[in-house]
C-alpha cells in the first residue's frame, strides 16, 4: 500500500465521493478517506466543505485516525467556527483520558484551534493538565499556555496561568522546565515591562541545574533565557559562566552558539585582569572553529556570528586565520562570509598568507566572489600599511589578466589606495590608463576618471583621456558625469592654458543640457567659482583630502552590542536589530550588554576600543553643526527682512553679498542662454555690477561645493556603515562640513522629481530637502495609509511648498508579496481646490519590500468644497490590485503664497476694516525663540512680518499672510522676553481659517 496515490486524485466529483467515504461504516475506508482529505489539504485544495464529516470521525479509539482529524481541525476550524464547537466535547473528554499521550494530544491540539468559543472551553482542561501527574502532559500544557496567550492574552492573565507557568520552572522534570522557560520567554517578549521571568539568583540556579539534564532543544531555550539576565556583580557573572562553558562541547551547534552568547554577554562584567577572563577567552576559540565543520547552512549562521564576535573581541580568533581559508567547493554564501572574516583578521603577522590566498581566489569562477576577493586585496593594503606595496603589485598582476570585471574592480580599489597613501604608488597610473577602454561599469569609470583628474599634472594626455569620456557624456550614469565634471575642473585648475575649451564644454553640458539637478548645481557652483575667483576655486577644488580610514565597514558600536546579545538568532544573521524585520511589539525591545562592574575599571577594554574605536574618531566630526550655521544661513539670505528695525547681524550682510554674486555672476557667465530664473525674492539692496566684484568668501560658500561632492564619492571602502566623514572625503575642505552634508542624499530623492523651476531654484530646493529650517516648514512624514488596510501598500507622506509649488511628498512601500504597478491618484473636492497638477510618477513597478518616494506637484484650481476640518483632504490611490481611500490633513501653511506681504498702510487699514468679531486669540506655549528668530522662521513659511513695535519689553510683531485663494490673514504676535508663552491674535474676513493658521504658527515655531 502506498500513500502517494492520495496526491494524484483530481477528479471532478471528488468532494462528493470523499463525503460518502467519510460516512462509511468501515473503519479502514474512513481512514483512507481522511488521508485523502489531508493530502488534498496539503497541496492547497479547499476541502473545508467536508468539515462536519471529518469531525464525525473524531470519536475513535484509533490514535492515528484521531491525529489526522485533529490536523484537519487545526487547519479549518477558523473558517468554520460554529462547527468547530462540535469538536469541543471530544477534546474535553480526551483531556480526561487515562492515556497520557491522548491527554497531551488533546491539550496540544486544542491550543492550536484559534476559535474564541473553543478557547473558553480550553481553560479548565488546561488548568488540570498543567498539574497533571505525567510530565509529558505538563510539558505539553506549558507550551499550550503560550498558544493561548497568542490568541487571548487577557484570558491567560485573568485565569492565572502565568503564575502556574512560573511554578513549572521549579518542576522536577527538566523538559517541563525547558518548555515553561520557552513559553514564558515568548510571553515576556510581548510584555517588555512586565517582570514575568523574574530572573533572580535562585531561579537562575534552577535553570542551570535543568540545563545539565534536559534535551538539546531545552538547553537552547534555557541558554537563550539566561542571556536576558543581568548578573548583580562580576562574581555571579563568573559563576554562571563557569556553569555554562561545558555546553561549548555539545554536538548541537545551536547549543554552542547560545552558550557563546551567554558568555560573550557576561564576560563584559568580568574584570580584565582576572585570570578567569583570559581562560574564558581561550575557551571560546575552539568551539567557534568547530562550528565551521558543520553543514554549510550552519556554517553560514556561524560565520555571520563570528563576524560579529571578531568585531567585538578580535583577540579570540586572531590566531585562527587559516580555518577561514576558502575551500574550493564551499557554497558561495560560505565563501563570501569567510572572505569577510579573513579581512577582519588580517594583520601584519599573517598578511603574506592572506594575500597569497586572495590572489588564488581572484582566479575563481564566481564573479561576485572574485570581485570581493579583489576588493579584499585593496582593503588589506589600506589596513596593513606594510603590505600596501605587495597588494598594489598583486593588483597590477590581476589587471594584466585582462579579465574585464577583475580589471574594473582592481581600478576601483587602487583609487582607494591612492587616497590612503597619496604620492606613493602613482607610477602605476600608466598601466591603469591602458585599460581605459575596457571599463564599462560606472563605478570603475568614475574611479578611473577620479584618478585622471587627481593626477592630471602627471598624466601628459589627461585632457585627451577626459575628452574621450566627454563624447558620450549624456549616456553616462550620474556618478560618472559628476566625477567627470569635477575631474575636468581639477584639470583646468592644474593646466589652465590648454584646457579652457574643455572646461567650457563640460560646464555647459552639465548646466544646460542636463536635467539632473545635482549635476547642474555642481556645474553652476564650479562655473561661478571659476569665474569669480580662481584662487578660491583652487583652494576648494584642490583642497587636501582627508585620509580614508582602515576599517570602514565596521558595524556601528551600539548596533554591534545589540547584535552580540542576539547571537545565534536571525538578527545576527541579518546583522540587523530585530525591530528591523519583526512585526509588532515583539523584539522591539533593544538589548544591551551589561556594564562592567568590579574593580578592573582602570583597564577599561582597550581591545574593545580597538574594534569600536576604529570608527569612533571619525564619528566625532560627523556631528552636524547646529542647524542653520552653514548651509542654513547661506540659504537664509532672503529672510533678513528689510523692515526689521534691529540691526541685522553682520554675517547676514556677508551672505547678502554672497547671494547677489551668485545671481549676478552666473548671469554674466551665461552669455547667450536665458538668464536663470531665480525664484527667490531677491531684492538686493546693494545690487552688484555685472562684473562680479571680488567677493567676500565666507566659509559658507565652501560648504556648497562640499555638498555637491558628497553624493558622488567613488568611494568604495565606505560600504554600509561607514562613518559619514568618508562621504565628503572626495574634496572635503573640512571633514566636518563634508560630514554634515553626508546625510543629505538620503533626503534628496524626494526633491528629484520636483518640477524643475530653473537652475537656481533647484539649488535652493536642496536646502529644503536637507530639512534646514530656513525653508517653509515641512511636517514630518506620517503614515496615511497603513499596509494592513491596503493589501500591502503603505503610504506615508507630507506636504511641502518648494519654490512656490505645493507638493505632496509620498512614500509608497510595497509590503505585499506581489509586484504593484499602474499607480494613479485622485483627490476629492476640498476646501482650497487642491488637485494633482500631473499624474503620479511611479514609472517602475514596485517590487515586494521596495519603497519609492514620489513628489506630486499640486495646483489649487480644482473643485472646491468646504471640508471639516478645513484642511482635510480625501485621497484615492489606485494600483493594479485595488483602489484605496484615505484622508490626510495638510498644514495650511502650504497655501501661503510668496507675495503675501502687505504694504504697511494697507495692513493698518485692513486691520481696522475687519470687524472685531472676526478676531481670534490663541496662546502658543513653550516657545523659546526671540522675536527676531521667530519672525525669520515664520518668513520661511511665507508669513511676513510687516512691522515690529516694542512696548514695555514686549515685542509686537505684525504679520500678513495670503492664502492661495486670495484670502488675507493678518496677525499680531506678542512676544515677551523671558516668557515662553506667545499670544497671537488673528484677523481675517473668513474666520474659519484662523484655527488652521494658528496650528501652523505653532508647528512652524516649534520645529
Amino acid at each position: 500500500m502506498t500513500d502517494s496515490k492520495y496526491f494524484t486524485t483530481t477528479k471532478k466529483g471528488e468532494i462528493f465521493e470523499l463525503k460518502a467515504e467519510l460516512n462509511s461504516d468501515k473503519k479502514e475506508k474512513k481512514k483512507e478517506a481522511v488521508k485523502k482529505v489531508i493530502a488534498s489539504m496539503t497541496v492547497g485544495k479547499d476541502v473545508s466543505a467536508l468539515f462536519p464529516d471529518v469531525v464525525n470521525c473524531m470519536q475513535t479509539d484509533n490514535l492515528e485516525l484521531k491525529k489526522l482529524v485533529y490536523l484537519y481541525l487545526m487547519n479549518y476550524a477558523k473558517s468554520q467556527p460554529d462547527m468547530a464547537i462540535m469538536a469541543v466535547n471530544t477534546f474535553v473528554k480526551d483531556c480526561e483520558d487515562p492515556n497520557p499521550l491522548i491527554r497531551a494530544l488533546a491539550v496540544r491540539t486544542m491550543g492550536c484551534i484559534r476559535v474564541d468559543k473553543i478557547t473558553e472551553y480550553l481553560c479548565e482542561p488546561l488548568r488540570k493538565c498543567l498539574k497533571d501527574e505525567d510530565p509529558y502532559v505538563r510539558k505539553t500544557a506549558a507550551v499550550c499556555v503560550a498558544k493561548l496567550h497568542d490568541i487571548n492574552a487577557q484570558l491567560v492573565e485573568d485565569q492565572g496561568f502565568l503564575d502556574t507557568l512560573k511554578d513549572l520552572i521549579s518542576d522536577s522534570n527538566p523538559m517541563v522546565v525547558a518548555n515553561a522557560v520557552a513559553a514564558l520567554s515568548e510571553i515576556a517578549e510581548s510584555h517588555p515591562n512586565s517582570n514575568l521571568l523574574d530572573l533572580n539568583p535562585q531561579s537562575i540556579n534552577k535553570l542551570l541545574t535543568a540545563l545539565n539534564e534536559c534535551t538539546e532543544w531545552g538547553q537552547i531555550f534555557i541558554l537563550d533565557c539566561l542571556a536576558n539576565y543581568t548578573p548583580r556583580d562580576d562574581r555571579e557573572s563568573q559563576s554562571i559562566c563557569e556553569r555554562v562553558t561545558p555546553r561549548l562541547s555539545h554536538a548541537n551547534s545551536a547549543v554552542v552558539l547560545s552558550a557563546v552568547k551567554v558568555l560573550m554577554k557576561f564576560m563584559e562584567m568580568l574584570p580584565k585582569d582576572l585570570d578567569y577572563y583570559g581562560t574564558l577567552l581561550k575557551k571560546l576559540a575552539p568551539p567557534l572553529v568547530t562550528l565551521l565543520s558543520a553543514e554549510p547552512e550552519l556554517q553560514y549562521v556561524a560565520l555571520r556570528n563570528i563576524n560579529l564576535i571578531v568585531q567585538k573581541r578580535p583577540e579570540i580568533l586572531k590566531h585562527e586565520m587559516k580555518v577561514f581559508f576558502v575551500k574550493y567547493n564551499d557554497p558561495i554564501y560560505v565563501k563570501l562570509e569567510k572572505l569577510d572574516i579573513m579581512i577582519r583578521l588580517a594583520s601584519q603577522a599573517n598578511i603574506a598568507q592572506v594575500l597569497a590566498e586572495l590572489k588564488e581566489y581572484a582566479t575563481e569562477v564566481d564573479v561576485d566572489f572574485v570581485r570581493k576577493a579583489v576588493r579584499a586585496i585593496g582593503r588589506c593594503a589600506i589596513k596593513v600599511e606594510q603590505s600596501a606595496e605587495r597588494c598594489v603589485s598583486t593588483l597590477l598582476d590581476l589587471i594584466q589578466t585582462k579579465v574585464n570585471y577583475v580589471v574594473q574592480e582592481a581600478i576601483v580599489v587602487i583609487k582607494d589606495i591612492f587616497r590612503k597613501y597619496p604620492n606613493k604608488y602613482e607610477s602605476v597610473i600608466a598601466t591603469l590608463c591602458e585599460n581605459l577602454d575596457s571599463l564599462d561599469e560606472p563605478e570603475a569609470r568614475a574611479a578611473m576618471i577620479w584618478i585622471v583628474g587627481e593626477y592630471a599634472e602627471r598624466i601628459d594626455n589627461a585632457d585627451e583621456l577626459l575628452e574621450s569620456f566627454l563624447e558620450g557624456f549624456h549616456d553616462e550614469s550620474t556618478q560618472v558625469q559628476l566625477q567627470l565634471l569635477t575631474a575636468i575642473v581639477k584639470l583646468f585648475l592644474k593646466k589652465p592654458t590648454e584646457t579652457q575649451e574643455l572646461v567650457q564644454q563640460v560646464l555647459s553640458l552639465a548646466t544646460q543640457d542636463s536635467d539632473n539637478p545635482d549635476l547642474r548645481d555642481r556645474g553652476y557652483i564650479y562655473w561661478r567659482l571659476l569665474s569669480t575667483d580662481p584662487v578660491a576655486a583652487k583652494e576648494v577644488v584642490l583642497a587636501e583630502k582627508p585620509l580614508i580610514s582602515e576599517e570602514t565597514d565596521l558595524i556601528e558600536p551600539t548596533l554591534l552590542e545589540e547584535l552580540i546579545c542576539h547571537i545565534g538568532t536571525l538578527a545576527s544573521v541579518y546583522h540587523k536589530p530585530p525591530s528591523a524585520f519583526v512585526e509588532g511589539s515583539r523584539g522591539v525591545m533593544h538589548k544591551r550588554l551589561p556594564a562592567r562592574t568590579g574593580s578592573g575599571e582602570g583597564t577599561e577594554c582597550p581591545d574593545v576600543g580597538n574594534a569600536a574605536g576604529g570608527s569612533a574618531p571619525e564619528a566625532a566630526p560627523s556631528i552636524i553643526p547646529s542647524q542653520g550655521d552653514l548651509l542654513g544661513d547661506l540659504l537664509n539670505l532672503d529672510l533678513a527682512p528689510p523692515t526689521t528695525t534691529g540691526p541685522t547681524p553682520s554675517t547676514s550682510g556677508m551672505q547678502m553679498g554672497g547671494m547677489d554674486l551668485l545671481g549676478g555672476g552666473l548671469e554674466s557667465l551665461m552669455d547667450e542662454s536665458e538668464p536663470p530664473h531665480v525664484p527667490l525674492r531677491t531684492d538686493p539692496p546693494q545690487s552688484p555690477s555685472p562684473q562680479p566684484p571680488s567677493p567676500v568668501y565666507t566659509h559658507t560658500d565652501y560648504t556648497y561645493t562640499d555638498y555637491s561632492h558628497t553624493d558622488s564619492p567613488p568611494d568604495h571602502s565606505s560600504t554600509e556603515h561607514s562613518p559619514p566623514a568618508e562621504l565628503g572625503g572626495d574634496i572635503g575642505g573640512s571633514p566636518a562640513m563634508g560630514a554634515g552634508f553626508g546625510a543629505a542624499p538620503a533626503v534628496m530623492p524626494a526633491s528629484l522629481n520636483a518640477p524643475v523651476g530653473g537652475g537656481l531654484g533647484d539649488l535652493f530646493d536642496l536646502g529644503g530637502g536637507v530639512g534646514m529650517p530656513m525653508g517653509a516648514y515641512i511636517p514630518p512624514k506620517t503614515v496615511w495609509l497603513p499596509a494592513m488596510k491596503a493589501k500591502g501598500l503603505e503610504i506615508s507622506g507630507t506636504f511641502a511648498r518648494r519654490a512656490g509649488v505645493i507638493q505632496m511628498e509620498l512614500v509608497l512601500t510595497n509590503k505585499a508579496m506581489s509586484v504593484m504597478t499602474d499607480f494613479a491618484i485622485q483627490f476629492n473636492r476640498n476646501s482650497f481646490g487642491l488637485a494633482p497638477a500631473g499624474p503620479l510618477q511611479v514609472l517602475t513597478p514596485l517590487g515586494p519590500n521596495q519603497t519609492i518616494e514620489v513628489s506630486l506637484p499640486l495646483s489649487t484650481v480644482g473643485p472646491v468644497m468646504k471640508m471639516d476640518p478645513l484642511n482635510n483632504l480625501q485621497v484615492a490611490v489606485k494600483n493594479n490590485i485595488d483602489v484605496f481611500y484615505f484622508s490626510c490633513q495638510y498644514p495650511i501653511s502650504m497655501l501661503f503664497v510668496e507675495d503675501g506681504k502687505m504694504e504697511r498702510q494697507v495692513f493698518l487699514a485692513t486691520w481696522k476694516d475687519i470687524p472685531n468679531d472676526n478676531e481670534s486669540q490663541f496662546q502658543i506655549q513653550d516657545c523659546h525663540l526671540n522675536s527676531e528668530a521667530a519672525s525669520n522662521k515664520l518668513q520661511g513659511s511665507n508669513i511676513f512680518t510687516i512691522a515690529k513695535r516694542t512696548v514695555e519689553g514686549q515685542d509686537m510683531l505684525y504679520m500678513s499672510i495670503k492664502l492661495s485663494n486670495g484670502i488675507w490673514v493678518l496677525a499680531e504676535l506678542k512676544v515677551q522676553a523671558g516668557n515662553p508663552n506667545y499670544t497671537i491674535s488673528l484677523k481675517c474676513r473668513a474666520p474659519e481659517v484662523s484655527q488652521c493658521v494658528f496650528q501652523c504658527y505653532e508647528a512652524v515655531l516649534k520645529n
Binding site: S4, K139, P174, T215, S249, Y333, F581
Partner: protein, 429 residues
C-alpha cells in the same frame, strides 16, 4: 519560533505543509517557491527574507525542506532542527525522496506534530519516538507501557528506554577520521586538520554506565605526573563535541567521558586536531605549458605510513582546462582516464602499501581559444582510505558498568576499528 514547515519536491510542489503559527499564511508556501526554488540564480543564502518573512532551507537530494518564521528565532536551532528532521525521517523510512515522502505523509505529519509544538522543537530522538510513533499505528499500550513512554520522552535519559535485554553484550567502536589538507605547489602545508568521529554501536542490556578513554594529551599528562610514565604517544585535541548522552559538566571538570549510550548506533563524539597529523599521501604536481595548445602534467604520489599497512580506494583527480581536445596518459600503477564531462583526468589505484611512490604523466592538447581569461587551475584533489587514524588517536578503554544486571565489563565483547579517509585533500598546482 518556527511558524511553519514545508517540504517541496524539485518542481516546487508542496508535499508537506504544516503551519504552527497564525502569522504564517498559505501565501508563504508560494513565496518560497517563487523566490527561491524557481529563482534563476544560484542560491545565495540559506536564509531568505521575503516580505518580512524569513525562510530557512536545506536540500536533501532534490527535496527542499523550508522552515518559516516571522520572528527573531534562533537561526542555528532552526537549521539543527531541520537536519534532525532529516535524520528522523531517514531513520523511519530511509532515503528522503519524493516517493518516500508521499508514501509516508501521514507518518510525517504525526512526527511533525510530536517533535515541533507551537514551533518549539521537542524530544526528537528516534529511539524514543519509535516507541510510540509507529507506522503500524494501532498498538494498544498497557498503562505501564504508556507511563514508560512518557517518562522516557521527557526524562533525563530520553535517548534510551529501560528494559533492553541482549543475550550477548557487544559493542563496536569506529574511529572515523577525515583528513583535510591544502598544500601549495611547493609542498608547503597551507592548512591541515583532521576531523574525526567516534561512532559507537552498542548492544548492551539494561542501563549501562560507560566510560570512554583515549590518548588525550591532557589526560595522559595528568596521569604521567602520577608516575605511570608516558605509554605511547598522546595527541592534542583542539576541540571536541559530544552526543547529548555524555555528561558535559563531568568532562569539563575531570575530562572524563562518561555516559549511558542510546541503544544501537550513535555518534559519541566529534573532534578536531591540527597538530602532528600524519598526512598519508603527498602529491607532487608538475604542470608545464608547452606553447598555447599543449600542457604537460606530471604528478607523483608518495604514501607516507607503515609499509605493512595498505591504503585503499585511491583516486587522484587532475583538473584539465575547459578547452581540452585530447589527453594521453601514462601511469605506472592503476588506471587513469580522461573524463571530458568532468574536465579531469581520474587516476584510480586499488591498493597501495606504505612508503611507496607512483607516478602519472599526461599530455593535454588544447584547442586554441580567443578567451583571454586564464584557466583557473583548480587544485589536484585526492581520495583514499587508510586503516589507521591520521590524527594518531587511540582508544585506550571503554568500560561498561551495569550494577543492576549480572554482567561485568569483562563479559562485554568489544571491537575497535580505525578508518582514515580523505576529506578535502588538495594540492594546488
Amino acid at each position: 519560533m518556527i511558524g511553519g514547515l514545508f517540504i517541496y519536491n524539485h518542481k516546487g510542489e508542496v508535499l508537506i505543509s504544516r503551519v504552527y503559527r497564525d502569522d504564517i499564511g498559505r501565501n508563504a508556501v508560494d513565496a518560497f517557491r517563487v523566490n527561491v526554488i524557481h529563482a534563476r540564480q544560484q542560491v545565495r543564502s540559506p536564509v531568505t527574507n521575503i516580505a518580512r518573512t524569513s525562510f530557512f532551507h536545506v536540500k536533501r537530494s532534490n527535496i527542499w525542506l523550508a522552515a518559516v518564521t516571522k520572528q527573531n528565532v534562533n537561526a542555528a536551532m532552526v537549521f539543527e532542527f531541520l537536519y534532525k528532521m532529516c535524520d528522523v525521517m531517514t531513520a523511519y523510512f530511509g532515503k528522503i525522496s519524493e516517493e518516500n515522502i508521499k508514501n509516508n505523509f501521514v507518518l510525517i505529519y504525526e512526527l511533525l506534530d510530536e517533535i515541533l509544538d507551537f514551533g518549539y522543537p521537542q524530544n526528537s530522538e528516534t529511539g524514543a519516538l519509535k516507541t510510540f510513533i509507529t507506522q503500524t499505528g494501532i498498538k494498544s499500550q498497557s498503562k505501564e507501557e504508556q507511563s514508560q513512554i512518557t517518562s522516557q520522552v521527557t526524562g533525563q535519559i530520553g535517548w534510551r528506554r529501560e528494559g533492553i535485554k541482549y543475550r550477548r553484550n557487544e559493542l563496536f567502536l569506529d574511529v572515523l577520521e577525515s583528513v583535510n589538507l591544502l598544500m601549495s605547489p611547493q609542498g608547503q602545508v597551507l592548512s591541515a586538520h583532521v576531523s574525526g568521529r567516534v561512532v559507537m554501536k552498542s548492544y548492551l542490556s539494561g542501563m549501562p554506565e560507560c566510560k570512554f578513554g583515549m590518548n588525550d594529551k591532557i589526560v595522559i599528562d595528568k596521569q604521567g605526573k602520577g608516575g605511570e610514565g608516558a605509554t605511547g604517544q598522546s595527541i592534542a585535541i583542539d576541540d571536541c563535541t559530544f552526543h547529548q548522552c555524555v555528561r558535559l559538566s563531568k568532562f569539563d571538570a575531570e575530562r572524563s567521558i562518561s555516559f549511558i549510550p542510546p541503544d544501537g548506533e550513535c555518534e559519541l563524539m566529534r573532534y578536531r586536531t591540527t597538530k602532528d597529523i600524519i598526512l598519508p599521501f603527498r602529491v607532487i604536481p608538475l604542470v608545464r605549458e608547452v606553447g598555447r595548445t599543449k600542457l604537460e602534467v606530471k604528478v607523483v604520489i608518495k604514501s607516507n605510513f607503515k609499509p605493512s599497512l595498505l591504503a585503499q580506494k585511491i583516486e587522484v583527480r587532475i583538473p584539465t582546462p575547459l578547452n581540452t581536445s585530447g589527453v594521453q596518459v601514462i601511469c605506472m600503477k592503476g588506471k587513469a582516464k580522461y573524463k571530458a564531462s568532468e574536465n579531469a583526468i581520474v587516476w584510480k589505484i586499488k591498493r597501495m602499501a606504505g612508503m611507496k611512490e607512483s607516478q602519472i604523466s599526461a599530455e593535454i592538447e588544447l584547442l586554441p581559444t580567443n578567451d583571454k581569461k586564464k584557466w583557473a587551475r583548480p587544485p589536484i584533489s585526492m581520495n583514499f582510505e587508510v586503516p589507521f587514524a591520521p590524527s594518531g588517536l587511540k582508544v585506550r578503554y571503554l568500560k561498561v558498568f551495569e550494577p543492576k544486571l549480572n554482567y561485568s565489563d569483562h563479559d562485554v565483547i568489544k571491537w575497535v576499528r580505525y578508518i582514515g579517509r580523505s576529506g578535502i585533500y588538495e594540492t594546488r598546482c
